[in-house]
């Protein structure tokens, strides 16, 4: 009896707690939107200064690493497409292949993964340690809603900065691809970039950007809800940080696949 009941019970518990977490993240999202729009009416305004500070941390500070990685990815794509398409003499299609795969897929994905590693973990660690040291309680009793003060600015900043970083990543990656593939195709860099622009449709950019908005939501909500759920001191904070990164990268990859599937039917 027990051999059947035990795993079933565990499965049930896991399901319930996963659902509870999903609901919690949804509630954080709704409350953040509410405070952003109507918070000032209740004396709980979302401060632009806090949003700007978060934008610097998640966005501006991530520019060097994202530029470097997307440049590398761009060069790598250039090499692979030249090799693969060269096998059946379709080198001229390299520009098109690189342009579409970067704007639709790689720009957003690289940005998402880097931001998840940098900021998703930072959200979890910061909120987790604030929970442990009772700073979140202190905010609440001072009369500052923790969601308004800690969550809404982070969410707004992410929703602005992740798409912005994605555009940057797109550009740098195309540049990287051009720097490698251009000489192979006897094409100056400017001509390569102009051809890329001719091939690109607005739809390609939108696909990447809409993905990046979803990634921003996923990273923020996963990082913050794991941070708020911390218990058990420093060890708990460490565990939450790891969990936030692993969960948000998995969520990004799965969401990316689903998006690609539905947008390309």
């Amino acid at each position: 009896m027990n051999t059947i009941a035990r795993p079933l019970e565990r499965l049930g518990r896991r399901t319930v707690s996963a659902l509870a977490e999903l609901g919690y993240a949804g509630m954080l999202l709704l409350e953040s939107v509410y405070f952003t729009l109507f918070g000032w009416r209740q004396g709980q305004p979302v401060r632009w200064r806090a949003v700007a500070e978060q934008m610097r941390q998640v966005g501006v500070d991530a520019i060097p690493i994202i530029a470097m990685l997307s440049f590398t990815i761009g060069v790598m794509l250039g090499i692979q497409f030249i090799a693969a398409l060269g096998e059946f003499g379709a080198e001229s299609q390299v520009v098109l292949a690189a342009a579409k795969s970067i704007t639709r897929e790689f720009g957003a994905l690289i940005t998402g993964i880097v931001v998840a590693g940098r900021s998703g973990s930072a959200f979890a660690a910061r909120l987790g340690s604030m929970v442990v040291s009772q700073e979140v309680d202190a905010l609440a009793v001072i009369g500052i809603d923790p969601v308004r003060y800690l969550v809404a600015p982070a969410l707004l900043a992410m929703l602005v900065m992740v798409p912005t970083l994605t555009v940057l990543a797109d550009f740098v990656a195309v540049l990287g691809a051009g720097l490698y593939a251009g000489p192979q195709l006897d094409m100056p860099l400017t001509a390569y970039l102009l051809t890329t622009l001719q091939h690109l449709e607005p739809r390609d950019l939108w696909e990447g950007l809409s993905k990046s908005v979803v990634f921003a939501l996923l990273i923020t909500l996963i990082g913050i809800s794991t941070g708020f759920a911390v218990s058990g001191g420093a060890e708990g904070v460490g565990r939450a940080t790891t969990r936030a990164v692993v969960l948000s990268i998995s969520a990004i990859v799965v969401a990316d696949m689903l998006f690609s599937f539905f947008l390309n039917r």
Binding site: Q42, S133, Q134, E135, A138, A140, I142, G143, I144
Partner: protein, 266 residues
């Protein structure tokens, strides 16, 4: 507010963590201008009671009224208005580590008032002077000693001139001199600002020094609420155990004991 209205009125408060019952129908009233000490050993439920008083946890049964407002049923706006009249100094200080001491103290003023920057600066420095931390406003919390953190947290708690001040474990982790200074500070605050103060502590000496009245909690029950002398002279066994630092006698129920040993894990 008339003096015969209690400023805190808790009735039949129950609290559970999972299947463990933490508070058993606690009744608790504090009159304005009083210094009330909540005393009890570890696991007596005093922290849980405090969390309910602060509205950080909703009561499962019973009511918690502060300044005449039912915390469990208050609207968001009412709760916000109430919290502006409370000050809380947490056990570890709970200063925001990303801000300087001065910014920590100024935060409630910045968020809740429309005072200009100069007034805010002067008011927060004034409160730092009250707790003998004048000139420390530009340090970060990590640069302060334990006693200084508690005093800075106290300055932040009183910066809005609250009617009601909560103090969680003022002397935990401090040397006797510093903790005596904090006791003195609490007494001064009551006399100078006419605050009602609730202190949670397990330090007997400091409790007897500052308290007007003491509530003794044990395993989720209120054993006694009374003056310092009433508590000292109480003939209840548990209270005398607490006062004389006697270990409690553990009674073992044989059946229970065997069940605990042999029970399969759930």
């Amino acid at each position: 507010m008339s003096t015969d209205q209690p400023i805190i009125d808790v009735h039949g408060l129950e609290a559970w963590y999972g299947r463990r019952r933490i508070l058993h129908g606690v009744d608790f009233r504090v009159m304005p201008g009083e210094i009330r000490v909540i005393m009890g050993g570890s696991g007596s439920g005093k922290s849980t009671l405090l969390r309910h008083l602060l509205g950080l946890q909703r009561p499962i049964a019973g009511t918690v009224k502060l300044l005449g407002i039912d915390v469990g049923r208050a609207s968001a706006a009412e709760r916000l208005a109430l919290r502006r009249q409370l000050g809380v100094s947490f056990q570890g200080g709970a200063l925001f580590t990303s801000m300087t001491v001065g910014e920590n103290v100024a935060l409630p003023l910045r968020e809740h008032t429309r005072l200009d920057e100069n007034t805010i600066r002067i008011m927060s420095r004034l409160k730092l002077e009250v707790v003998n931390l004048g000139g420390f406003q530009d340090l970060m919390p990590s640069q302060l000693s334990g006693g200084m953190i508690k005093r800075a947290a106290l300055a932040r708690a009183i910066v809005m001139d609250p009617k009601l001040l909560f103090f969680d474990e003022p002397s935990a982790g401090l040397d006797p001199v510093v903790s005596a200074e904090l006791d003195e500070l609490i007494l001064q605050l009551r006399d100078a600002m006419r605050m009602t103060i609730v202190v949670v502590t397990h330090e007997l000496e400091s409790a007897f020094k500052i308290a007007d009245t003491i509530t003794v909690l044990d395993q989720g029950h209120v054993l006694l609420t009374g003056s310092v002398d009433e508590v000292r002279n109480s003939d209840q066994q548990r209270i005398q155990d607490l006062l004389n630092r006697r270990p409690r006698e553990v009674e073992v129920d044989v059946d229970d004991y065997l069940r605990r040993l042999t029970e399969e894990q759930t």
